[in-house]
Symmetry: C2
Subunit: 413 residues, 2 copies
């Protein structure tokens, strides 16, 4: 089964909104044996949308659309699907009643513009939307399927899980696609490519190499009629990659650097606190994204370099001697925040992210990372290219990587 | 002039990477009189890529590609462009020498895989890449233009600004597209749609309405032969929107909530500190993204609810009486952090983002926001849907919105 995804919205063509929906859908289709061959964005324009749908229906077994199901005049997906397969829309009294109920339960008046959201065509089944007003459509005609989903990510996710994914699973033709990603750090893309060149060049398994902000990724794809057979195809290339690149691999599949750290904290049962200067709380917000961190990540401080002496353990005297971006400041931050929160481990990061904060005596892009633990305090120095967002992101990636390596080496039983 | 954008990469079709490049390019084209009619993603597959290029060359004056210029075996954009316009690639000795120089200057050995990055075709001019190894291509043939840019955003941005944008500006046929976005909060999408229904329905000016996480956006597009004429077309619809929606508009164009706050802080010359419980530093990291905030945003604390008494001014006694997610805790945080940092304004946010932190006595999604200033302390309560990331984002949006409104009403001269 192959598929095309069509994202609908002039705001996407204008660069107003980044389309995260099609990637989200694309990531979920291979496990259902569906190969995505094209992702396309079209504007809120009936002619263009009908043309895109007709082209996609010629090429793909499954066409997914996102967006354009809202109540406004430029929401045209229903009209376009109807036109593309030559059917007429009529208002479904049951859909209309449920729409009116939705507004009534919220004490809101339903606008007459919402009426069109109760439209349906003979080949379509309406997909309930528990998170919003726009029902989706599941259309089957001449052996092709169109699934039209709403644009707001929350509505899309929910409708996918409750309505679309189960239907696709039922129709799955027994082809399984398996993917595995190895995430490395410390090597250049072309070096990685050369090291694994002998594993390249086949379609199944397929090996792709991608440069990311947290290192070089290797992605292996296999396809077979059973999961077991797909795994068998995967094994030799997987072993090849591991035997060559093991020391550089920090994670697998959708593992993120913060997950590695949180898992290790949880394994050891130890707690963490952080202090950031110049990095603005990016580490704190990264560590608190996943609820898995709640038992282990206690919290942190984030200050601008001029306010660094507000971090417990950092004194104005120390700053006047060594500077706010220094090895001494970083270790004082890590030790101070560890003591203040009473955590097992403390991390301190101090960096210079912009030339506005002059007179600190280091180059923009200089970052010190320190890890403090009862067994001692480590500090490392890094020089990143002088761009604010890059420095912030890289500093956090490096701190997480070093923290992970440190935690792996701990010998607390 | 119309255009199509093609993003190249199997990782995009697999949902591994979100394509931010095409939106970035799309946002920059209207000002050059270029209307983007399609954005398409294709895999690292020669046949599919050639087909996409040929289709695009039939429909569009300008075709932009991003990605697939790297050194690895699945980087196929050069080969596909050559095939699509029926030309042969040869290695350019000058490009090769400059590539070798790039590696030499970095003390690195050039991999033989990089050699193909020195390839060129007769109709192409190589576009220098100062941020990486992959030169771009500017191809002119039979009245069509193909501009092939690298995938890494930093390389793409730089090459766009230095090489592509100036060439497009030179060719610009004198049609100017003008866009303006009004950002509202407090009204439902269908209500906004109804309120401005009489402004809808023309192609030029064109009005679009979009629901976003920080409110409903109205976007007006006009097209004319001069900027002045485009502005004239814009004016009546702009005035129409303002006269109806002014009280709900918090920003215009690419203004973000944090920009509104930072501008007001800078206008008054006053400083800010923050304390977050349960929100994990998202406010701190938002406020420190833009260097414009450095003189005014001093820093903050972010703790999990169990550690809330580490926020200066919050006592264990107070928490045992009122709870960590309470109006009392929020105002103590705002006042405490204001005093601790010695800032003019303090903001406290305390919320319950997950059911793991039970026994706090409120529902998941409850958030209190407090603003403390010499003239007094305000607190507001909010109930968001019980999803962690949504609560974190909405809490920060609401805090920024309230802070902006508060700062607007200040009467410090």
């Amino acid at each position: 089964v192959n598929a095309g995804i069509i994202s609908v919205g002039t705001e996407l063509l204008m660069g107003e909104t980044v389309d995260t929906n099609s990637g989200w859908l694309a990531a979920r289709l291979p496990a259902l044996g569906v190969r995505v061959e094209s992702i396309m964005t079209v504007g809120d324009n009936l002619v263009g949308l009908v043309e895109a749908l007709q082209t996609a229906l010629c090429r793909f077994d499954l066409v997914l659309t996102t967006g354009g199901l809202g109540p406004t005049e430029d929401d045209l997906t229903r009209e376009a699907v109807a036109t593309a397969i030559d059917e007429q829309i009529s208002i479904d009294p049951k859909l209309l009643a449920s729409l009116e109920g939705w507004f009534r339960r919220r004490g809101m008046r339903m606008s007459k513009h919402n009426i069109k959201q109760a439209g349906i065509i003979p080949s379509a089944v309406a997909l309930p939307n528990l998170k919003g007003t726009a029902p989706g459509w599941w259309v089957e005609k001449k052996g092709r399927v169109i699934a039209s989903l709403p644009g707001p990510p929350v509505e899309l996710c929910h409708m996918w899980e409750c309505e679309v994914e189960p239907r696709l699973r039922e129709r799955s033709d027994g082809v399984v696609l398996l993917a595995r990603t190895f995430k490395t750090i410390g090597l250049a893309e072309s070096t990685v490519d050369e090291m694994v060149a002998h594993l390249h060049g086949t379609d199944n398994p397929y090996l792709g190499i991608y440069a990311k902000s947290d290192g070089i990724y290797l992605r292996v794809l296999t396809q077979a009629s059973t999961r077991m057979a797909a795994m068998e195809l995967m094994r030799p290339i997987e072993e090849g990659i591991l035997s060559i690149l093991r020391p550089y691999i920090w994670g697998v599949d959708d593992e993120r650097l913060e997950d590695v750290v949180l898992n290790l904290l949880s394994e050891w049962g130890i707690t963490l606190a952080t202090a950031e200067s110049g990095i603005g709380g990016v580490l704190a917000s990264t560590l608190s994204t996943d609820p898995a961190g709640d038992p282990y990540y206690l919290g942190g401080l984030a200050v601008r370099p001029e306010e660094i002496d507000h971090v417990p353990g950092v004194t104005p005297h120390m700053i006047s001697m060594f500077g706010a971006v220094s090895s001494e400041a970083a270790s004082a931050m890590a030790e101070g925040v560890r003591k203040w929160f009473g955590s097992d481990v403390g991390v301190g990061i101090t960096g210079l992210v912009g030339s506005e904060q002059e007179g600190i005596g280091v180059e923009v892009g200089t970052v010190y990372v320190s890890i403090a633990h009862v067994s001692g305090t480590l500090v490392s120095k890094h020089d990143f290219p002088p761009r604010r967002e890059l420095i912030r992101r890289r500093a956090v990636a490096v701190a997480l990587l070093e923290l992970g390596q440190y935690l792996k080496g701990l010998s607390i039983p």
